[in-house]
Structures are given as C-alpha cells and as structure tokens.
Amino acid sequence: MHDELIAAIADWNPALQGSIDLRTPLITSARLDSLGLLRLIMWIEQKIGRPMAVSAVDMVKEWDNVDAIVSFVERERERR
C-alpha cells in the first residue's frame, strides 16, 4: 500500500515524482494541499470503504507522511 500511495501522490502532483519516501512530510511541508488533500481523503475513503469525518482527524499527526497515512488506514480498517 505504501508504494501505491507514493505513486498516487506523484500522479496527483507530477512535480513530486521521485521526491516522496515513507517519511517525507506532506502536510506540514505543504507538498499536499488544496486539491491534493481532497484526493488524499478520497484515496483514504476508498481504502477504508466509508466516508471520513475529517474534522475529527488530527491531520498533521495522522497524515503527514506516507507511513502515517498507511498506518491510519490499517487502523481504520480494523475498526470496521
């Protein structure tokens, strides 16, 4: 899932191609913002199979890098 997300982020913003690894800050660095964030939410929702109440999520803590996002998705899947 890590590689899939890295590929997706590069697809959303080709300028990020090759510059993202598991720990690269995405939100605090503003690499992902505006439509990039919207696409990230849609990607997460697709993976967990339900809508996300985004205001309940601490995005900086939970979604600031690929590793954290994938861990978040795995936790949310287990909660189903």
Binding site: W12, I27, S29, D33, S34, L35, M52, V54, S55, M59
Partner: protein
C-alpha cells in the same frame, strides 16, 4: 513552491483581485466587484479591506484570501473576529502549496495585529480540508436540513444516480436558476392576520426593530453574533442574494421575524432558498412565522442549518417536513464552522465546544 510574494491588499490591486475572483468562481466581473466592495469596503467592523494576495514574479495577482469583520458577544464583551472567506487561486498556481502559504502568512500577520481568533463560516470542502490541516478546529457540523417538494426530491435523486455521490460531494454540479415565483407569492401576500397577530412581508430589513427585539430576548450565555441595526443593514445588503423578511406584529410591536434568502443560482448540493435568521419572542410566534412562510412561499426546496437551534425550533422544522440534507457532506462533518486561535491559550474565547456558540446561517456567507 514557485516564487510568490504574499502581501496585504492595496486599492491598486482591486482590478486584478476582481478578475482573479471572477475567473475562480466563474462569475461576472461586475457582480464580483459589487460583492467584494460590499463585503470588504462597507463592512461595519473592519474599516479597511482585510485581504491578502499572492503576487508572482511578474507582479500578477495569482491568489487571494479575504477576512471580513464579524462581531461577537463573548462573556459580555464585543469582540471583533475576522472571518476568513473568498479563497481564490489562479489555475496555474493551484496545487503548488500556495494555499497553505497564504493561510500561514495571513494568520501570522493577523496575530501580530492583535486578533485573538479567526473564524471561517463558509468554507467549501477544499478550504475546510486545508484549514484543518493548518491547525483550525471545527466547532461542529451545522447539520443542514431541507424541505423538498416531490419534484425537487425526484430531480435530486436522479442527479445523484446519474453523476454518482462522489461527484456530487466534490463539485456543485449543474447550476440552475432559482424560481422567482416564490418571492412573488410572498410579495402578493403582503399583510395578513394570523391567529396571534399579523404577518407582514417586506423586502428590506427593519434593522432597528429587529435589533430591539433581540435585545428584549433573554440571553442564554452562548457566544453569539452581535445582531445590531448596523449589522442587519450591512448584512442584508449582500448584492448576490435577494431577501424577504416576514415580520410578526402584535399591536404594532415586532414580536418575531424570519428571513428567507434566495440564491439566484444554485447547484444540486445547495438550496435555492434558505431560512437564514429566525427570531421570535415565544415559540408560538416562531411556529406561526415558519408555517406562514412555507404556506405563502410554496418553496420547491428550502433549507437551513439546524445544529445550534433550540430543540423546540428543531422540532418545529421536523413537524413542517424538514429532513437532513447534504448527506454526503454531513457524513464528513460538513458544513462546519472553523475556529483558529491566535492569542494566548486558556481564555474563554478559544472555546471549540459547539454548545458554547449560537451560530446561524446568517453568520455564514452561505446565508
């Protein structure tokens, strides 16, 4: 991020700001100019426009963020809170980190100017996401409700099944013109006796009388927008909306009012008509106003925010056929009002508990 400079708005930027806004929101330039002038140049709480713009290396304005003045009563004091709105980024500067850079620069500058709090009551999905990512807190979902006639329910169900829920959530969908006949019906009703007084229809606010009615009402201790005559005069002068005011009178004294806003254009995820403010000296008057408005206007689709209304008012709406709407956005905690605390921690003003706030649709530019 490409090389942009974020600076405070100056009057010489006005034409470029209008053009950017017009392109971003696909609106006529003359309409945008009137709207921005109303909102930022005639605001009763901030004497000068409070906007931030991003300039590229050629001096072109490629991004903007506005903050219009709002005034809240907090622990007995009037507190001016800039309310963030009108985020526009040019097509070529999107997805470059500029949105985050403008927000960071704006919040730093506003903190230096001494503001303790910022609000955002009108954010679309992308703006809400970006705000939450930069430390804003949600005061909770505003729980929109709507009353749809059979044809409107059918149209919306058809639109959703054709386009898919995700598309509906992301984008406003087809733009339609709202039906002017509803307001024409209200206008023809003018004044009629109801069981406990008279209901009178107006097309302009009785600003002083409305403010006096609010002053007579008991306060419940929640943080609420100061609804004084200056606010009403300014707020209902919004050039992008048309308003009708239903006044309830008893022996010549204003005992309640209900305000309906008409969007001239709307998408399938929004309502052509909204109840934006509703105040009455007692529940019987409030109920009579609501029932009269719906009976006289015969609106095909009318909505409001219900989250922070009293339980009695929520029941009145349900009894009149209002049901939860915008279900896709509701599932994601939207629409919501966002708060950003800039000042020292631990003060009452940083309360993000929605129960501490009285927020109405009129406090948002959706209203």
């Amino acid at each position: 991020m490409a090389d942009y400079e974020i600076i405070a708005y100056r009057p010489e930027f006005k034409d470029q700001v209008v053009a950017l806004y017009s392109d971003a929101f696909r609106l006529e330039r003359s309409e945008c100019r009137k709207y921005l002038e109303w909102k930022y140049e005639r605001n009763p709480y901030l004497p000068e426009p409070l906007l931030f713009v991003a300039q590229d290396g050629r001096g072109s304005i490629v991004g903007m963020r506005g903050f219009y003045g709002t005034c809240w009563r907090i622990a007995g004091q009037r507190v001016v809170i800039p309310c963030a709105d009108d985020f526009a980024i040019s097509l070529e500067a999107r997805n470059t980190g500029l949105m985050t850079a403008i927000m960071r620069s704006a919040t730093e500058t506003l903190a230096q100017r001494g503001f303790d709090l910022l609000l955002n009551a009108s954010g679309g999905t992308v703006t809400v996401l970006n705000s939450l990512a930069t430390g804003w807190k949600s005061l909770g979902a505003m729980e929109p409700v709507a009353r749809l006639d059979r044809l409107e329910r059918f149209r919306r169900a058809l639109h959703t099944s054709i386009n898919g829920k995700r598309f509906v959530w992301r984008y406003a969908g087809d733009i339609r013109r709202s039906d002017p006949a509803c307001f024409a019906r209200l206008d023809r009703s003018r004044r009629r006796s109801v069981s406990h007084g008279d209901v009178v229809v107006g097309s302009s606010p009785r600003a002083e009388a409305m403010a006096q009615l609010i002053d007579r009402r008991p306060v419940d201790g929640r943080i609420r927008h100061v609804r004084d005559a200056a606010f009403f005069r300014w707020r209902f002068d919004n050039p992008t909306r048309e308003y009708r005011f239903l006044y309830h009178e008893r022996n010549g004294v204003l005992t309640g009012f209900l305000v309906v806003a008409r969007y001239r254009q709307y998408g399938y995820t929004s309502m052509p008509f909204n109840i934006v403010d509703w105040e009455a000296q007692d529940d019987q008057t409030g109920s009579e106003l609501l029932k009269t408005t719906l009976a006289w206007g015969r609106f095909p689709a009318i909505g409001t925010w219900s989250a922070l209304l009293s339980s009695d008012k929520r029941k009145m709406l349900a009894d009149c056929g209002f049901a939860p709407s915008e279900l896709d956005r509701r599932a994601r905690g939207m629409p919501c009002v966002l708060l950003k605390k800039l000042g020292p921690t631990g003060t009452h003003t940083g309360n993000v508990d929605s129960a501490a706030w009285d927020i109405r649709l009129i406090d948002s530019m959706h209203g």
